[in-house]
């Protein structure tokens, strides 16, 4: 194993291959506070990529209701239990990653779901964390909570799928860091399925190979965001590229949210994969739950998000989510107008932070009638 630096853990760690960063790294921010679990993203992906034989059960994108939802079943709990104590000292992770705790003879600490684990794609949907006892719904704040967690492959900087494959059939693209399974080279050993802690590689029994999210790379190559982004009803997603923390640029939307404002956090950073889908944590969820999912920065992130109203740049940038299908790699704010700029330098979208409000009187003297306002 080689020694590599994982900035999400604030330390070096062991990995199967030496550190080799792509020219740029595809990344995204998902705002969990806006997701309504409509599953439009799930279907957008399904109809585009996984409608074939052997792909019936595959959900490259899925949305689960936390705390109980999980696909495949208990994918998160099983590994969290296997990984034992996951200690942080400040922002430095002092526990072990899935690479460091690999058992003898293995490349990664992992487990392989059984076929029944894929049988309940939306288990726990809308289930609260606690029972709502008589009268509890009348009290505020509610003690019961749930939230929606939308998940795709994290196109990790240290992918466990890639390092699990003894054939080197999985690769990370130099141009954008997207992680792909070479469908010509794969022989269906399912080591990647076992190794990926997020369970985002799926075995296709009809072709005998493993398949995974491709971040819609044919779209990304044309500067367009993936299907699950542009179809998102809740406008919770923003795709772009992330820099290393020391190279963060304040005008790069992803850098700004992840590195500068630190409002968007990786999912289960303690696994050690340096995943590249970043989440704005839910603001109504117990702090310890958020910290288990998103690491020790979750408490601060929730505060920052709650205060976004007073932070014009942050509030403006949040308005850019779901406002254009183009990949926005730069943003600027002039007064109340936010501009999303593409790689080419062209403005992809220009939006006001406050939309004009029109108040229409109920009385319409011209037509001599009274209008009823229906929401």
């Amino acid at each position: 194993m080689a020694r590599v630096y994982n900035w999400q853990l604030g330390r070096e760690m062991s990995y199967w291959y030496p550190e080799s960063r792509p020219k740029r790294q595809f990344a995204a921010v998902f705002d969990t506070n806006k997701c309504i679990a409509c599953q439009t993203c799930t279907l957008a992906c399904k109809t585009t990529w996984t409608s074939g034989k052997g792909q019936e059960y595959m959900l490259w994108n899925n949305v689960e209701t936390k705390p109980y939802g999980s696909y495949p079943l208990a994918y998160d709990l099983k590994l969290l239990e296997m990984l034992n104590s996951q200690q942080w000292e400040g922002e430095k992770y002092t526990g072990q990653t899935v690479f460091e705790s690999a058992p003898a003879g293995e490349r990664v600490l992992g487990w392989r779901p059984e076929q029944q684990d894929y049988a309940y794609p939306n288990v726990g949907e809308d289930d609260c964390a606690n029972q709502v006892d008589t009268g509890a719904l009348m009290k505020l704040p509610h003690m019961s909570w749930f939230f929606y967690l939308a998940r795709i492959c994290n196109h990790c900087s240290y992918p466990a799928c890639l390092s699990s494959c003894p054939r080197g059939s999985i690769y990370k693209r130099q141009e954008d860091g997207i992680v792909l399974v070479d469908q010509n080279r794969c022989r269906g050993y399912q080591e990647c399925v076992k190794g990926c802690p997020y369970k985002k590689v799926f075995f296709n029994p009809m072709t005998g190979t493993s398949e995974k999210c491709i971040a819609c790379y044919p779209k990304i190559e044309q500067g367009i965001q993936p299907q699950c982004f542009v179809n998102c009803i809740g406008k919770i997603r923003l795709a772009g590229y992330i820099s290393r923390p020391e190279q963060a640029r304040a005008d790069n939307p992803i850098d700004y949210l992840v590195h500068i404002k630190k409002v968007a956090l990786p999912l289960f950073p303690q696994y050690g994969l340096e995943p590249n889908i970043y989440y704005i944590p839910p603001i109504h969820v117990p702090d310890n739950f958020n910290r288990q999912l998103f690491g020790p920065r979750a408490t601060e992130a929730v505060k920052t998000y709650r205060n976004a109203f007073n932070d014009r740049d942050l509030a403006g940038l949040l308005c850019l989510f779901g406002s254009t299908e183009r990949m926005v790699t730069r943003f600027t704010r002039q007064g109340d107008v936010i501009t999303g700029i593409e790689d080419s330098g062209a403005a992809a979208v220009r939006i006001p932070m406050n939309e004009p409000v029109h108040i229409r009187p109920a009385q319409d003297p011209r037509n001599q009638l009274v209008r009823i306002n229906c929401p």
Binding site: K53, G105, P113, F203
Partner: protein, 282 residues
């Protein structure tokens, strides 16, 4: 009277015992005019048998940590052009349907690509020496035996709403329909040989080290496997290695995967090199 009974018992016991195959310390392909058609063919009764102890794959991660299949029994026959092997091993749990978390039974025969006094590394060859591998799988056998190429053949209770290639606008069997099906089967579209609908249950491969296994030139291979409660009996045929047939000898190795033990790829039981000769029947 007592002596007669004792004599009868001895005769019965002797008559009841079918003579087992001749056991040999190396793999011997006996020359024959008629090659067997299946692992149950009576032609196999004449062939000597080598009992190969299986070892753990312990060279590369993921390693095989648990000793599962203990031994593989190998017989071989050759007509001078082809060589046919019969591999049998104990495995009472039939695994011939692939799926998420489901591995399948398989076996393989490995021979150095070139006859040489110094064979390459026994575990998949090395930089200096290529090995040829003929690989058989139980799910391919099931496909050849008639199992259909649909998810319902693997999961009879599966319900599928619709596939894009079943759209009414696409004429069944037309090029446009096939193209649509290929779009949703990337491994097939790329010609990955392990992804296809199968015509035979074996595949010819080459390797020069662990992790380098790739499709090789045709060895005219064929195969057929039968599973009983005792386990698998699998027949694998391929071209006789070039230069072999007289007094020359080469090396041979075998590997066995048990699907029920989650064995696949590097997780396998395997042998070291075993000397391999062709011999004329006495």
């Amino acid at each position: 009277m007592k002596t007669t009974i004792a004599l009868l018992i001895v005769l019965l016991v002797l008559g009841g015992c079918r003579r087992g195959p001749e056991l040999v310390p190396e793999v011997v392909a006996l020359k024959t005019d008629n090659l067997p058609a299946s692992p149950g063919d009576s032609a196999w009764d004449r062939a000597p048998e080598h009992v190969a102890r299986l070892l753990l794959q312990d060279l590369v991660e993921p390693r095989q940590m648990k000793a599962t299949t203990q031994e593989v029994r190998v017989r071989a026959l050759s007509d001078g052009a082809q060589v046919v092997f019969r591999l049998s091993w104990a495995d009472d749990d039939l695994s011939d349907a692939p799926g998420p978390g489901k591995m399948v039974d398989a076996c393989a025969v490995q021979i150095p690509a070139k006859l040489s006094a110094e064979p390459p590394a026994p575990q998949m060859g090395d930089d200096d020496g290529l090995v040829q591998v003929t690989y058989w799988r139980a799910d391919w056998q099931a496909a050849v035996n008639g199992r259909g190429d649909s998810i319902k053949d693997l999961y009879p209770n599966a319900v599928v709403d619709h596939y894009p290639f079943d759209a009414q606008s696409l004429e069944k069997g037309s090029d446009a329909q096939k193209e649509m099906a290929r779009r949703y089967a990337p491994a097939r579209a790329l010609g990955n040989l392990r992804a296809g609908p199968r015509e035979k249950p074996v595949e010819d491969l080459i390797a020069n080290g662990p992790g380098t296994l790739s499709p090789g030139p045709s060895l005219d291979s064929a195969g057929s496997g039968q599973h009983t409660r005792q386990g698998w009996a699998v027949q694998i045929s391929r071209k006789l290695p070039e230069g072999l047939g007289g007094s020359e000898r080469t090396q041979i190795a075998f590997a066995v995967w048990q699907g029920s033990e989650q064995e696949s790829g590097a997780r396998k039981m395997r042998t070291g090199w075993i000397p391999f000769v062709v011999r004329t029947a006495p």
